[in-house]
């Protein structure tokens, strides 16, 4: 059995990444000017939850940092700190830092780097100027248990009253202006403590909203010998005099959000002015309002909150394995459905019979199920784009350029695996756009452009593909420089004329870089060729469009899901196989093709204006073929394919059967790497068919020389 603690830890880190996303989204909304309380609260809650979890796992670095972060956010919440652009910038940097710390904690690394100075400075300024957050300083960090006095009333009022006194002074004007107060009864259910909630902290959170006075009803307390310290038997009545006179019930209720299911809470507005005198007076012990009275009220309030919350989050977390299993089963359902259709057709049943029309319905249903199942794996690109805003900030800082990032189409959905595997290529493209594309503010001003450069990140769906574009309004590709570099490296024949688009594609050649000096960002040994390869691995294509002086846009076109491949189903040596359509550049019939012998038993075939090698697919796959290669069957065909890092070559097959989408079945752990096979699929009749990787078919000796790469790369579009 796996360590249960490890599982909980893993869940925590999973939650952290969601919370970090939420945090970043909130901060970006703040930056964009959306400064309402909900946004600030969501940001605060994200940090608070991370801190809470980190505390449970004893992650000191994380707790310390999150705590400091929380202090600053709390300042925002209490209107003691204005969300100016400078402050938000610090917060954004801190959220990046928090992400780093979470990653470190997950990998078990400790980070010696101290608290970022800007955040610490903000936190200090808050704690220094504003004494009432004194309770929230580092002494609170160790989550030490609060000793329970025999007289709980004294204990609670005392702890809470102390910081109150200082506040009374600073808040005096607000208090005078307000003539009402809120009365809360807070009746925790017995398992409140078990769930990690602590009334004291809730009251402290209330304190941020205004002055509070608490009364406790301990009438339900059992004799000391029967007391279970884990079960809370106290009921509190809290009088809250808000600092701001527009405090709403929802805002108060939000303090108790985490304890929502664990307590009975009533919030009532009391218009009668509460004199300063009565607040400081030791409260007369009032019994809590009768349950019969409070119950309907509290249910109403909680019901309202419930519905508000359900509209916020209606997702569940599901193990990917389960979804994969579902995808497999649906694939099987589709296959049995088509087998059934075939056999009904074979038995020549009346097409208007009940079974035939039932089959039609079944077909419709399976198609709908298949679509819905595929949609489960789909994910909006929002999280990916959010991650990129961080890359932009970092890159802008490193290159000392002013960059504005504009994202578009964040709700476009794409397979989860594709989203994950896009992160690296996109990161690289964005760094490139900022480092190579955008000019320095001075150069931009000289060129008559606004000093702040813009990077666009757009996603949109186009039929069954997703287009993702990274664009900048920088200087564009300097084609003369690219060509010069390519000539220096012998990547292009000197006498050859290249069209502008061909020059642009030179950027995808391995090791190609136009940057003269290694900057902070480039010179990592990663070039656009890596991006190119990553996109190709996702069955995608990549294109550049650039206008000198105006900007450059790189667009990626990807299939919606990795689970489906456009393929050509071919037959050879009595086997059916699938060749990915993306690898095929042309097909010819054997009868029409010009095939010439060359060397011992080797054949070449004419493709446009050159001759390329011809390989029999069955032989290439190591299957015996009983066909005489001189014999020409009318069905025999040639597929011209062009795998990665190789020139085109032709594959001879016995027949081309169909062109269709196939569901990719990974060969998994039970198989190792088989050089010429990338995966398998299951055809309509239930038979397994191999998906051929043409790159594995050519013996390595027949690979073309390096300089010839230019041809393939430029041709590949």
């Amino acid at each position: 059995m796996a360590d249960p603690m490890e599982e909980i830890r893993a869940t925590f880190f999973e939650e952290c990444s969601e919370l970090l996303e939420q945090l970043e989204a909130g901060l970006l909304a703040l930056e964009a000017g959306d400064q309402d309380n909900d946004t600030i609260d969501s940001v605060f809650r994200a940090v608070h939850s991370i801190k809470g979890g980190a505390g449970a796992f004893d992650l000191g670095d994380l707790v310390g940092f999150a705590h400091c972060f929380e202090t600053v956010l709390d300042g925002l919440r209490g209107n003691r700190l204005a969300p100016t652009p400078d402050v938000v910038a610090v917060l954004l940097r801190s959220s990046d830092r928090l992400g780093d710390l979470v990653a470190n904690a997950r990998d078990g690394k400790t980070d010696p780097a101290a608290m970022p100075e800007d955040l610490a400075a903000l936190a200090d300024s808050l704690t220094n100027t504003d004494e009432q957050v004194g309770w929230d300083d580092s002494s609170d960090l160790d989550f030490s248990p609060v000793p329970i006095d025999i007289d709980p009333v004294a204990e609670t009022t005392q702890t809470l009253a102390a910081p109150d006194q200082s506040r009374q002074v600073s808040d005096a004007p607000a208090r005078v202006a307000f003539s009402g107060h809120w009365r809360l009864t807070f009746d925790p259910l017995p398992d409140l403590l078990e769930s990690g909630n602590e009334p004291l902290y809730l009251f402290r959170a209330l304190q941020v909203l205004g002055r509070i006075r608490t009364e406790v009803d301990e009438s339900d307390l059992p004799p000391l010998e029967d007391l279970d310290p884990k079960v809370l038997r106290l009921v509190w009545t809290v009088h809250l005099i808000p600092t701001a006179d527009d405090l709403t019930e929802t805002e108060i209720a939000s303090v108790f959000e985490f304890a929502d299911d664990l307590c009975v809470l009533t919030i009532t507005a009391e218009d009668s002015p509460v004199a300063g005198q009565s607040v400081t007076d030791r409260p007369a012990k009032t019994p809590p309002p009768a349950t019969a009275l409070t119950q309907p009220e509290s249910l109403g309030a909680r019901g309202k909150e419930k519905s508000a919350r359900s509209s916020l989050s209606s997702t569940i977390r599901v193990d990917l394995d389960r979804i994969d299993r579902l995808v497999n089963l649906v694939g099987e359902l589709v296959i049995s459905q088509s087998m059934l259709a075939q056999s009904i057709g074979r038995d020549a049943m009346n097409s208007s019979s009940a079974s035939a029309s039932g089959l039609d319905e079944l077909q419709q249903l399976t198609r709908d199920i298949q679509d819905s199942v595929m949609a489960i794996r789909a994910q909006p690109v929002r999280s990916l784009f959010q991650r990129m805003t961080r890359i932009v900030r970092e890159a802008a800082q490193l290159t000392e350029k002013n960059v504005r990032m504009i994202t578009d189409g964040e709700t476009t959905e794409i397979d989860k695996t594709v989203v994950e595997r896009l992160a690296d290529p996109l990161t690289h493209m964005i760094r490139n756009a900022i480092d190579h594309g955008l000019e320095s503010p001075e150069a931009r001003a000289a060129a008559g452009k606004p000093p702040t450069g813009t990077v666009h990140l757009r996603a949109r769906q186009q039929s069954d593909r997703v287009i993702i574009e990274v664009g900048d309004d920088g200087r564009g590709i300097d084609r003369a420089k690219v060509l010069k570099r390519a000539l220096e490296r012998n990547l292009v024949p000197a006498d050859r004329h290249l069209d502008p688009y061909e020059i642009d594609r030179l950027l995808f050649l391995p090791g190609f870089s136009t940057n003269e000096e290694v900057s902070a960002l480039s010179g990592r040994g990663v070039g656009m060729d890596v991006v190119h390869r990553a996109i190709r691995d996702l069955n995608g294509t990549i294109a550049i469009s650039s206008t000198e002086g105006v900007g450059c846009t790189i667009s990626i076109s990807l299939p919606l899901t990795l689970a489906i491949l456009d393929g050509m189903i071919v037959r050879t040596a009595r086997q059916r196989m699938v060749i990915p359509l993306s690898a095929i550049i042309e097909t010819q019939t054997v009868t029409a093709a010009r095939i010439e012998p060359m060397g011992a038993g080797q054949l070449v075939v004419k493709l446009q204006d050159r001759f390329v090698p011809l390989i029999d697919l069955a032989e290439g796959m190591g299957f015996s073929t009983d066909r005489d290669s001189a014999e020409v069957d009318d069905d025999s065909a040639l597929l011209f394919v062009q795998p990665e890092d190789m020139g085109p070559f032709a594959l001879r097959v016995d027949a081309i059967e169909a062109q269709r989408q196939v569901v990719i079945k990974g060969l998994g752990d039970s198989f190792g790497r088989i050089p010429c096979v990338s995966a398998a699929t299951i055809l309509g009749d239930g038979q397994v068919a191999l998906i051929v990787d043409p790159g594995g078919l050519m013996p390595s000796g027949s690979r073309p020389p390096h300089s010839d790469r230019f041809h393939q790369e430029v041709r590949m579009q």
Binding site: F623, D669, F671, G672, G686
Partner: protein, 175 residues
């Protein structure tokens, strides 16, 4: 198709495999016996996921002869070995009684083509004899215990040794 054993739960599988390397039979002496090339064999029933009827596999390129190919196992792809050939005997002849025993070891799932399934037996630990070491050939190591039923010798096969050393049949042991 008979479901004999449910897939073992992910969590407990590694622990059980670890036990197996020490003394597999002592911890579990429930065995599935079957016929293959005219002889009796058995495997630990906990490794058996299901037994299914024979269907024509799709061959794999550059695979050793005992690797028959892949069949469709309810939407996923299952590699199938000819057990007789894997044990160094003549290939299994086609027959309607031929079945594929689906075995699972960790995350690896393989199908074994055998002549026919016989029984489920519970030999006591002292009925299980050690395998006499008669040679150094790799096929000897496939059996880890022996026992006798009605005067017939039954070899208890080690699923660990049965599966190719590395996944990827093209890189298997030179034979």
């Amino acid at each position: 198709m008979t479901e004999l054993a449910q897939e073992t739960s992910q969590g407990s599988a590694p622990a059980r495999i670890a036990d197996q390397t020490k003394d597999p039979i002592a911890t579990s002496a429930e065995l599935l016996t079957f016929q293959c090339g005219g002889r009796g064999y058995a495997v630990d029933i906990m490794t058996v996921r299901e037994i299914r009827s024979w269907s024509q596999p799709t061959p794999l390129p550059h695979a050793p002869p005992y690797m028959l190919g892949m069949v469709n196992l309810r939407g996923s792809v299952l590699p199938v070995m000819d057990l007789a050939q894997r044990l160094g005997q003549a290939p299994t002849s086609e027959s309607a009684r031929n079945v594929i025993i689906v075995i699972q070891q960790g995350s690896r799932v393989h199908g074994l083509l055998v002549d026919a399934v016989s029984d489920i037996v519970h030999p006591s630990v002292d009925q299980l004899q050690d395998v006499p070491r008669v040679g150094v050939e790799a096929t000897d190591a496939m059996a880890e215990k022996l026992f006798v039923v009605d005067d017939d010798m039954i070899q208890v096969l080690s699923v660990d040794n049965l599966l190719p050393l590395r996944p990827g049949m093209s890189e298997d042991l030179p034979r």
